[in-house]
Every structure is written in structure tokens, then in C-alpha cells.
């Protein structure tokens, strides 16, 4: 029960990692903050749950790559238990029994590439350098409030000017590359660099994660860059596997927020935002209780934030239309396995170091594109692209001694499946995943003790992510930057005064990044709570 008398400066709806970051920054600035989370635990899509006794899973998101270093520092997350362990390698088994590996050691990776193509091995370093420059060019953007190019306010103009200068500083060659990245498909972009099919397939796969696009769809090249951004923080080493699963990232942020004085309530679903005279005055919980605050911040996705929490008549019609058009189209599923023994991959038999890294099921470009074809026509991929990790080999505490957990991120599984998702369809999807892995690791079935299959419909049901989109809305170019989630409302403010948005559905977007939560807090503070 909440103390009714308490008057909060801010209520944050949703204890996803962004909501928690938001609350922590507001509390750090001395504000009285209350976080209301619908589920029994905080974290949203970044949660660890003991799905089967003794077996803990990062149920949804499983690697940390983009968590902003400034947030780690400002909130002293290591002091609150964050420990990121290296996830060092990626191995892609091929259909002919061979494999492609990228190891932590640069020379080892080069030697491996030479095996496939001496030319690509050389190109690899040059490509890496270019992507480094590109990522550095784009990086400031993810830590800034997106300036609105249609606005004439001095603020926006100055922001645009700074960006313009920044991009001019890139030089012609890099500017052109950036333009290509913004417009090309990841497959086409990679074709300009490499000849090894399995290399292109594996790299382009990172460009399609969380989108309803294939490696040959224009615009996917940009997402390649999004993933390189984690790598330039490489020196800071925010890339890897969070000890205790991704839930421990959320727990560390929650602990920091509490330490600054924020209150966090779980099992507290919010029904709607109270609005009076065009201004948010508090929230009503589903149990009818009303709590007042000077501002309300939503960490939910744009659809829930604007179409569920607020009465439509409080919002301009045009804006409501924009939000209705905001694309979710969840396309990913997750299979979590409890294992009694380790899988034995035909291409690399035994318990080698490859099992401690990622195993990418992306044997060639056509394979990945065909996986997309199934989804285009409303089916899950019979042979999906998968990113497989065994966290218990990196952090043994995730499973009972000698046993293991396997996390399988799967694409494509369309939210709008022909005939809709049913229990039978879910199991069929799970079977397709296991059958596909069995092609590369024939003993997998005998290793499995328990299996959890999560379809986009399950992701939506459990986390609240609309249509199961893992990023609170697709990371497509028309939904990024000053367009996320809608033109003119990309700066964390909303048409309702005192009501803010801080989830991944705002700039700079999805992933365990925390940037939206932080930038939204700065916006709230700037407006003077």
C-alpha cells in the first residue's frame, strides 16, 4: 500500500531498464521519484528468471553491448553489482561441415579468415577501421537530444549546425560511406567489401536483428553500425555477458536508483495517466488507487504510452495517427534450454572455447534471406537465423554444477503469423529451432532437460512490448532520430504537459542502452520539475 500523503515529483511508469535509469537520474538530482512496475520484478526485457529450478535465464535480451558508459559511471553501476564478463568469440557452422570463427585475439581471427579468403582477411582490417570511424561519427548522436530539422528554434539550429560540422569533418570518403550505410542493404554493403559468403551472412545477420527486414532489404546496413557502436566503447569494455544475466543490469540500476532515494513498487500496473487541463497530474493504478505527481514519465512503448495510458481526446489527432502508424512488427522469438550436457558441434567437436562464445546459425546469405521469405508470407522460418550462447560456461552460477543453460535468439517469427499463434504453433516453432540446431549439433536433443519457447506473442504478453518488437518499435530509418516515435515529439516530451516518454521507443532506440532513460531525465530536469 502506498502512502497517499506522499507527494512525488515524478512517477515513472514501467520499471524497464530505461524507466529505472530515468528514475535514478531524477532521484540523483534530488527529486522524489516513484517507479511503478506491472510485473513482480523490474527489468522489462532485461530480466533474469529461474525458469526451471536451478536454471536461470536472461529470458529475453541476453548480451550487453550498448549500455552507455556515462550511465555506468554516473550511477556507479559496478558498485551496485554490475559485472560484465567477456563474450569473446563467434563461430558460424557451415552446411559443408566447415566453420567460420572470429576469436578475441586479432591474429587468430585473421588466420582463420585467411583460410576462407586471404583477400577478405586483408579487407577485414580496413573494414574494421572504416566502421570504427563511422561508429565514432554516429556515436555523439546517441548521446544527444535529436535536433528537429524542420524547427527554426535556435536550439535545433545549433544542434543541426553542430551535427553538420561534425559530418563535414568526416571527409568525403567517410561521408559517402556513411550515406551508403544509411541507404543500402547490409548484404549489398558487405558485397562491396568481402567475397566470403559465410562472413557476409554472419555480419549481415546483426543488421536484421529486431527488424522485419531481410539482409537484402535497403536500410539494414545502418543497423550494422548500431552494433559497431558497442565495439568502440570496446576500450571501456561494456560488451559482453552480464554476470547473473541481463536482469542483474536492471537490478544494479534499480539499486542505484534506490540509493539516490527513488521508491520502486512492483506488482503495480498503471491503468492510465491522470490529465487535468492538458497537464498530467498523476496516475491511476489498475486497482483504482490514484497517486499524484508533478510529472509522469512513461517507459512503455509509444503505442501503450499514447494509445493506452492517455485518453485519445487529450492528444492531437495527427499525432495519434502517427503513433498508430509507428511500426512494431515483432519478428523475433527466443528459445531457452536447460541442458544436462553440452552440445557437440560437428564442425568443431568437443568442449572447446567456441562454446563460450556465440554460435551464429547463418551459414550463408541465401539461408538468411530465405528465413526472411518465410516470414514475409506470414510463417515462421523453417530454417531460422539464430544467435546461440551458453551463458553457464561464462557464468557457472546460471545453472546447477555441470549443467547448462542455452539461450537461442531466433529470427524470423512474425507476430502476425498466419492463423495466429497457438500452443501448437509455439511448439512447432520450437521444434523448427531444435531441428535446425540438430543439423549442426546432432546430439542437441539428448542434451535438453527443459525447453521454454517464447514467440512474439509471448514476448508481448510477458513484457508488454507491443507486437513483441524487441526494440519498442522497429529500428528502421524512418523511425529513428528526430522521427522516433513521431515528428516533433522526439525530445521525450509529449503533447500533454508534464507527461514524458523515456522508453526504447524514443531516440536513440532499443537495446540495453539506457540512453533514452537518461536523456528523458535530462529533459524533465531542464523543464524544471
Amino acid at each position: 500500500m502506498l502512502k497517499k500523503a506522499t507527494r512525488y515529483d515524478a512517477i515513472v511508469i514501467g520499471g524497464g531498464h530505461n524507466g529505472l535509469v530515468n528514475a535514478a537520474y531524477l532521484a540523483r538530482a534530488g527529486k522524489r521519484v516513484l517507479v511503478l512496475e506491472r510485473r513482480p520484478r523490474v527489468g522489462g526485457a532485461a530480466v533474469t528468471e529461474e525458469v526451471f529450478p536451478g536454471f536461470k535465464f536472461s529470458m529475453f535480451s541476453y548480451v550487453v553491448s550498448l549500455l552507455r558508459p556515462e550511465i555506468i559511471r554516473d550511477l556507479d553501476l559496478p558498485g551496485h553489482g554490475l559485472h560484465i564478463l567477456p563474450l569473446e568469440s563467434t563461430v558460424t557452422p557451415m552446411l559443408n561441415g566447415d566453420y567460420l570463427a572470429a576469436w578475441a585475439d586479432h591474429d587468430a581471427t585473421r588466420r582463420e579468415l585467411v583460410r576462407h579468403s586471404p583477400r577478405d582477411a586483408e579487407a577485414y582490417d580496413e573494414y574494421g577501421r572504416l566502421m570504427h570511424h563511422m561508429a565514432r561519427a554516429v556515436k555523439p548522436i546517441i548521446s544527444m537530444v535529436p535536433p528537429d530539422p524542420t524547427s527554426l528554434s535556435p536550439r535545433d539550429l545549433l544542434g543541426l549546425l553542430r551535427l553538420g560540422k561534425h559530418f563535414r569533418g568526416l571527409g568525403a570518403e567517410q561521408f559517402h560511406a556513411l550515406f551508403k550505410l544509411m541507404t543500402m542493404s547490409s548484404a549489398d554493403f558487405l558485397d562491396e567489401w568481402f567475397e566470403t559468403d559465410v562472413l557476409k551472412a554472419t555480419k549481415s545477420a546483426s543488421g536484421i536483428i529486431g527488424t522485419f527486414l531481410g539482409p537484402r532489404s535497403p536500410g539494414t546496413a545502418y543497423v550494422l553500425l548500431h552494433h559497431y557502436m558497442g565495439e568502440i566503447d570496446g576500450v571501456f569494455r561494456a560488451w559482453g555477458f552480464a554476470k547473473g544475466g541481463t536482469g542483474s543490469v536492471s537490478e544494479a540500476i534499480a539499486s542505484a536508483a534506490r540509493n539516490f532515494g527513488a521508491e520502486i513498487h512492483t506488482d503495480a500496473p498503471v491503468a492510465r495517466v491522470l490529465v487535468k487541463g492538458g497537464r498530467a497530474t498523476g496516475v491511476a493504478l489498475e486497482n483504482g488507487e490514484e497517486i499524484r505527481a508533478r510529472v509522469v514519465v512513461s517507459g512503455l512503448d509509444p503505442r501503450r504510452t499514447f494509445l493506452q495510458l492517455v485518453e485519445p481526446n487529450e492528444l492531437p489527432g495527427e499525432f495519434v495517427d502517427d503513433i498508430k502508424r509507428f511500426k512494431f512488427r515483432g519478428s523475433s522469438g527466443k528459445v531457452n534450454l536447460a541442458l544436462g550436457a553440452l552440445p557437440n558441434f560437428t564442425c568443431m567437436p568437443g568442449n572447446g572455447p567456441h562454446l563460450r562464445g556465440a554460435v551464429s546459425i547463418s551459414p550463408n546469405l541465401e539461408y538468411v534471406e530465405r528465413a526472411y521469405d518465410d516470414a514475409k508470407y506470414g510463417e515462421f522460418s523453417r530454417q531460422p537465423y539464430m544467435d546461440v550462447v551458453i551463458p553457464s560456461l561464462i557464468d557457472p552460477g546460471m545453472a546447477p554444477p555441470g549443467k547448462h543453460v542455452m539461450s537461442i535468439f531466433v529470427q524470423y517469427a512474425p507476430y502476425n503469423l498466419n492463423g495466429g499463434w497457438t500452443d501448437a504453433k509455439r511448439e512447432a516453432f520450437g521444434d523448427a529451432v531444435i531441428d535446425t540446431i540438430a543439423q549442426f549439433a546432432p546430439n542437441i536433443r539428448s542434451c535438453i532437460l527443459h525447453r521454454q519457447v517464447l514467440t512474439p506473442a509471448d514476448i508481448e504478453r510477458i513484457t508488454g512490448l507491443s507486437e513483441g518488437n524487441i526494440f519498442q518499435g522497429e529500428l528502421a530509418l524512418h523511425q529513428l532520430f528526430f522521427l522516433r516515435p513521431a515528428p516533433s515529439w522526439a525530445k521525450y516530451r509529449t503533447p500533454v504537459r508534464g507527461f514524458y516518454q523515456c522508453g526504447s521507443g524514443t531516440h536513440p532506440g532499443g537495446g540495453i542502452m539506457g540512453a533514452s532513460g537518461r536523456l528523458a531525465a535530462l529533459a524533465v530536469l531542464e523543464d524544471g520539475v
Binding site: 558508459p69 559496478p78 578475441a104 585475439d105 576500450v235 571501456f236 563460450r356 554444477p401
Partner: protein
């Protein structure tokens, strides 16, 4: 010829990059894998197995064993109980530190002393007229450090000794699957951990059972590079890196007193007599001119220095061991002797000798960094050590 430790037949095949280094006349692993990352994280996240056999080890026995040690070292050995381990330093007559190490009280009249440098001559010099035997058991005793949060569960499976009852800096005789050993709750990582002392002929079977029992708990053989990062996080100093032995120093200013090394707490001025007592009494009255402190280099400052040349900050993922000037208001007030990027704390940390006036935690200082061949100063702050001090270390 450099020597191999008794674990060499097991460690050698693990050496992916043949990255051997020297330690007290032995070769040991810098890192087994090509990069030391995983070995470091094992210390903090699961369990690391380190071959620490090259330590100098002396068995000191006899009716006057306690008296000898109390004459030599700064701590009060007479007050220690059987089963206790003392970390201590020892000084020359001028009260300057010669070496530091541990003294384990194995029995009323039996002690094992570990040291970074050979100290047999020094012990003998101070044993005149005492009824004591000093035996160098460096080669006959092998030692493994098992360090990290899973160290206890791993070890407990293998022994009847009650490890939960074994407190920090205590030891117990035990058998590990039938192998007689001494287990001490000590280490150089600042984490939960144990050191296991074994007769050299039993070294290999001990290694094998530990690996076997530890594998489900993520046991990882670990080299010196990883240890170096962990000991910095723990704020632990290293002879010949962070300070120079009074026996090796060529000039007076190279020497340090225990007070200057942050070891004032260990100086037992209430003891009747020990080497250096008079000088240390005098220094205690006067106050030490220098302090040995932790430094945290400030990220924003580092980032600015690198941004000026168009680079993201370069961080020392391998600990450096050189002397680096430390400034206050443009004037040099000391020097850092080792430092590294802490992968756990996400901080650039260093250990430094600074003038006492600027030694208080929080004092803003500057440390020299070389950015693209040019000397710059990065803002730094005096920090409390240990930088990392998990509850499990003592729990």
C-alpha cells in the same frame, strides 16, 4: 637456467601463446590464453587457479622461533595463535622496509614465512644466540592459490576441513582427496580465496583434483597478468615495483618506511624490540613525509585529452609498472608506480607515493599520461584502497 615449478607438466600444455615470464628464478605464465581477460574475470566471477610456487618459503622452528620472528618483523608475532596468518613487513635498522610477506603459525614453535626476495641470510643474521632452525623450503613446498567467489565450494567438496569456519587469515591442516596439505585463507587478489601448500611430489595430483572438482564451477588457470590487475584493485603493493627493498636501494630516497607504505597499522611499537624500532618510533612521533595511496584517474579528463587528437581513450588493460609523475597545482608531489584499467570497476586506477599533505582521500591531483607521444596531465583523485573490497573476502 630458470627453473620450472612442480606444476610445469600441467601448466606448460595450457600455454597458448608461450607467454612465460620470470618470477624469483622460475618461469611462470603471464597468461595461459592469448589474452588475460578471461583469467582476470575468473578471479572476480568464478575461480582462478594460480601457481604461486616461486614464493620464497622458510620453515622456522624451535623454542626461539617466535622470538626470532618478533625481532625481525614489525608485527607482533607473539600475539598470534596457532592457525593464524600474519601479513607483515620487515625493516632494516633505519626502519626502512626490506620485504613483505606472510607468517603462518603452524604450531607453537613452528612458523612458515613467505617472502618475495631471498631472506635466509637476514634471518640468520638476526638469529644469533637463539635456539631456532631456519630451513629454506622454497623448492620442496609447492603452492597454489585458488581465488574467487567459487573457491570455497570447490575446495569444500574435496576436504573434510570445515572451510566455513576457516576465517580470513587463518589456516588449517587438511587432506584434499588424501593429499596432505595446509589450506590458508589468504591470497593476493583481495577476494574470497585460499592458498594451498603441498609437498612438491604431490603437486600434480593436487592440481588434477582441483581442476576436476572446479570445472563445473568455472575454475580457470590464471597467470600473472590477471593477478596484477586483481592485486591493484585490492590495493596490494609489490616489491621492486611499488617500492624498493632497503637492501637493494642505492640511494636513501629509494627506500620507504612502513608508514610511508600505508603499513602503519602493522607497526607494533609495543613490542620490546625489533629491527628498526627506534627509527620507527621517531617517525611515528614526527609523522611520515610520504604516503602510499590509491589514485583514480578521471574519465572525463582522459576522454578530453584523447578527443583532442581524435581518438577514444586508450586504457591500460595490462597493468603498467613504471614510475609516472603525479602533480598538484602544477608541482610534482609524487609518483605512481603501477596502474591499470579495472575491467570490473570501469575505472582507471593506480597506486602512488605522494607527499603526506596531499594524501587525503578525495584530494584532486593530476597524473601524467602519454597521449599520442605527448605528455599530458589527466585529472586524478586520491582514493581509498582497496578499490575493490567485496564482503565475501572476509565472510
Amino acid at each position: 637456467m630458470l627453473k620450472h615449478t612442480p606444476f610445469y607438466p600441467r601448466t606448460a600444455p595450457l600455454m597458448e601463446g608461450q607467454a612465460w615470464r620470470r618470477w624469483a628464478g622460475y618461469v611462470v605464465a603471464s597468461s595461459y590464453e592469448l589474452l588475460h581477460d578471461r583469467e582476470y574475470h575468473a578471479i572476480r566471477s568464478s575461480a582462478a587457479l594460480l601457481d604461486v610456487s616461486p614464493l620464497y618459503k622458510y620453515l622456522i622452528t624451535g623454542p626461539d622461533a617466535e622470538r626470532l620472528l618478533d625481532r625481525v618483523v614489525i608485527r607482533n608475532v607473539g600475539k598470534s595463535k596457532v592457525g593464524q596468518v600474519l601479513y607483515t613487513a620487515w625493516c632494516d635498522a633505519a626502519g626502512k622496509v626490506i620485504d613483505d610477506g606472510t607468517i603462518s603459525r603452524l604450531g607453537e614453535q613452528t612458523f612458515r614465512m613467505t617472502a618475495a626476495d631471498p631472506n635466509i641470510r637476514w634471518l640468520h643474521l638476526n638469529a644469533t644466540g637463539l635456539n631456532v632452525t631456519i630451513e629454506d623450503v622454497s623448492e620442496s613446498t609447492a603452492a597454489l592459490a585458488l581465488q574467487g567467489p567459487n573457491a570455497r565450494v570447490i575446495l569444500q567438496q574435496l576436504t573434510d576441513a570445515d572451510l566455513t569456519a576457516l576465517k580470513y587469515f587463518r589456516l588449517t591442516p587438511a587432506t584434499i582427496r588424501g593429499i596432505p596439505v595446509t589450506i590458508s585463507r589468504t591470497g593476493y587478489t583481495g577476494d574470497l580465496g585460499y592458498e594451498i601448500w603441498v609437498d612438491a611430489p604431490n603437486a600434480l595430483p593436487l592440481w588434477d583434483v582441483l581442476i576436476e572438482a572446479g570445472t563445473p564451477y568455472g575454475i580457470t588457470p590464471c597467470g600473472i597478468l590477471a593477478l596484477d590487475v586483481a592485486r591493484l584493485e585490492a590495493g596490494l603493493m609489490l616489491l621492486e615495483v611499488d617500492y624498493i627493498s632497503a637492501h637493494r636501494a642505492l640511494i636513501e630516497s629509494q627506500k620507504s618506511s612502513p608508514f610511508e607504505l600505508n603499513l602503519g597499522w602493522a607497526v607494533s611499537l609495543d613490542k620490546a624490540w625489533f629491527v628498526g624500532k627506534a627509527a620507527l618510533e621517531e617517525e611515528a612521533r614526527r609523522g611520515a613525509a610520504w604516503q602510499f595511496v590509491g589514485l583514480e584517474v578521471e574519465w572525463d579528463s582522459l576522454e578530453r585529452l584523447y578527443a583532442a587528437v581524435g581518438l577514444p581513450p586508450r586504457l591500460p588493460t595490462v597493468a603498467w609498472r613504471t614510475s609516472v609523475p603525479v602533480y598538484s597545482g602544477g608541482e610534482q608531489v609524487g609518483y605512481a608506480t603501477s596502474g591499470c584499467w579495472s575491467p570490473l570497476l570501469k575505472k582507471y586506477i593506480a597506486l602512488a607515493h605522494v607527499r603526506s599533505e596531499v594524501a587525503r582521500p578525495g584530494t584532486p591531483l593530476a597524473m601524467e599520461v602519454t597521449v599520442e607521444h605527448r605528455r599530458k596531465q589527466a585529472a586524478a583523485r586520491v582514493a581509498k584502497t582497496p578499490f575493490f573490497n567485496p564482503e565475501r573476502k572476509r565472510a
